[in-house]
Amino acid sequence: MSLIAITEVRKRFGDNEVLKGINLDVAAGEVIAIIGKSGSGKSTLLRCINGLETIDEGTILVAGAQLAPDELHLRALRLKVGMIFQSFNLFPHLTAGRNVMLSPMVVKKVPAKEAQAEAQARLEQVGLGHKFDAYPDELSGGQQQRVAIARALAMKPLALLCDEITSALDPELVNEVLQVVGKLAAEGMTLLMVTHEMRFAREVCDRVVFMHQGRVHEIGPPEEVFGAPKTLELQQFLGIA
């Protein structure tokens, strides 16, 4: 059974239908890249999966539980699915370590000691064990994004949603973040990532989703999608038409 099952999902902003019937099944441990033009609905799809937007039609099942817009269901969902943002969104008033500890402590009621040890471990996992006491504004963009990953991991999610997590970074900082993500992929984390890093997508992902005008336009293993794009739109997007 798939970990995330998206069926006929539609989403409108006013008159603007942004998602026009999305179907996508993600197996546990799968790494999926979502590519597509600006405005094709990539972010909206991820945000719907995390319940940051409500869907108008269709269903989203995560580990068999249906996404519903009430507080209780949302909370349950978000305990299973973590999200990482383009703009990091670290809590500026808390140190890196505290950023990671906060949610386990207040949401899961993990005792402080335990949460601290867990935070230390997660920070080490992203190569920032020595930055526990640094505030976000004392960290580089790449480091902040890695703390954000550690923060999401501390909730022990079944899957991570990543929305262009390297787009706000200076080019020389992109790799340190991608390395962390690559390691997570290798360790079997389920990843759903919107990305413009085509090389990374080709190397790391199991499947690539090409979104176009609110639909899954093409989907397949990277060799197929990048090597033999079927549709004109994808060829144009990849710049080989």
């Binding site: 909370r75 943002f85 008033h93």
Partner: protein
């Protein structure tokens, strides 16, 4: 010449000024608590709660405080409570203060970037957890200067309670004037005392504001 020395006047005014201070503190603390509740309602996801908070804020900000004082004073006695002036004054000022603080704080909460809400949502926090651990700690920093600034309005507003008969600095001034026939001196000293209470608050609000702006620029 009146038998009152200047010192008599000052002494009596100072005594009455205590009540101005006490009433200000009560209104400010009480208003802070009610204001926080209103803030939660005003920024809540529930439409009904938001509407109610908006109505509350509009009513108390959109009518003269003096009318509110009268309505409390006479209204409460209508429904059978015999309200002494201090109670009507304390209640009305508290609710009035709450409306303004809620609105000031809402501005601060809304100044917190949306990403902070989304990140904390994605970490499975509830609305109260988000407010308590993520939004309010950040909003608090920017809320301090305008909140301190508003405390000046509260102190000045207590003067109106003299009109429903609460004896504080203004009421005492009128009473002492009636006894001494020295309005210039009495009201002059009263103004000086209000100034001594308010000016440090105004100044510190300004300084805090400036400090915050500098901190912002250095980020």
């Amino acid at each position: 010449m009146s038998p009152f020395t200047t010192w008599d006047i000052v002494r009596n005014l100072l005594f009455a000024a205590q009540w101005t201070v006490i009433l200000s503190l009560v209104a400010f603390i009480g208003g802070g608590v009610v204001g926080l509740l209103m803030l939660f309602a005003r920024t809540s996801k529930r439409v009904a709660a938001r509407r109610l908070a908006i109505l509350y804020i509009e009513l108390f900000q959109g009518t003269p405080l003096l009318m509110q004082l009268f309505l409390f004073f006479f209204g409460l006695s209508l429904i059978g409570f015999n309200v002494p002036p201090w109670l009507a004054a304390g209640l009305a000022l508290t609710l009035w203060t709450a409306a303004f603080l809620a609105e000031i704080w809402r501005g601060c909460v809304e100044a917190i970037p949306r990403g902070q809400w989304e990140a904390s949502s994605s970490l499975a926090m509830s609305y109260f957890e988000q407010m308590r651990y993520v939004v309010l700690p950040q909003a608090l920093r920017i809320a301090v200067p305008p909140t301190v600034g508003f405390s000046v309005q509260v102190v000045k507003a207590t003067a109106l309670t003299s009109i429903i008969g609460f004896v504080e600095l203004s009421k005492a001034s009128t009473m002492i004037t009636n006894a001494t026939f020295q309005p210039f001196v009495v009201y002059g000293f009263a103004a000086l005392m209000y100034f001594a209470l308010c000016w440090p608050l105004s100044k510190s609000s300004q300084l805090l504001e400036r400090k915050l702006n500098v901190a912002h620029r250095n980020h």
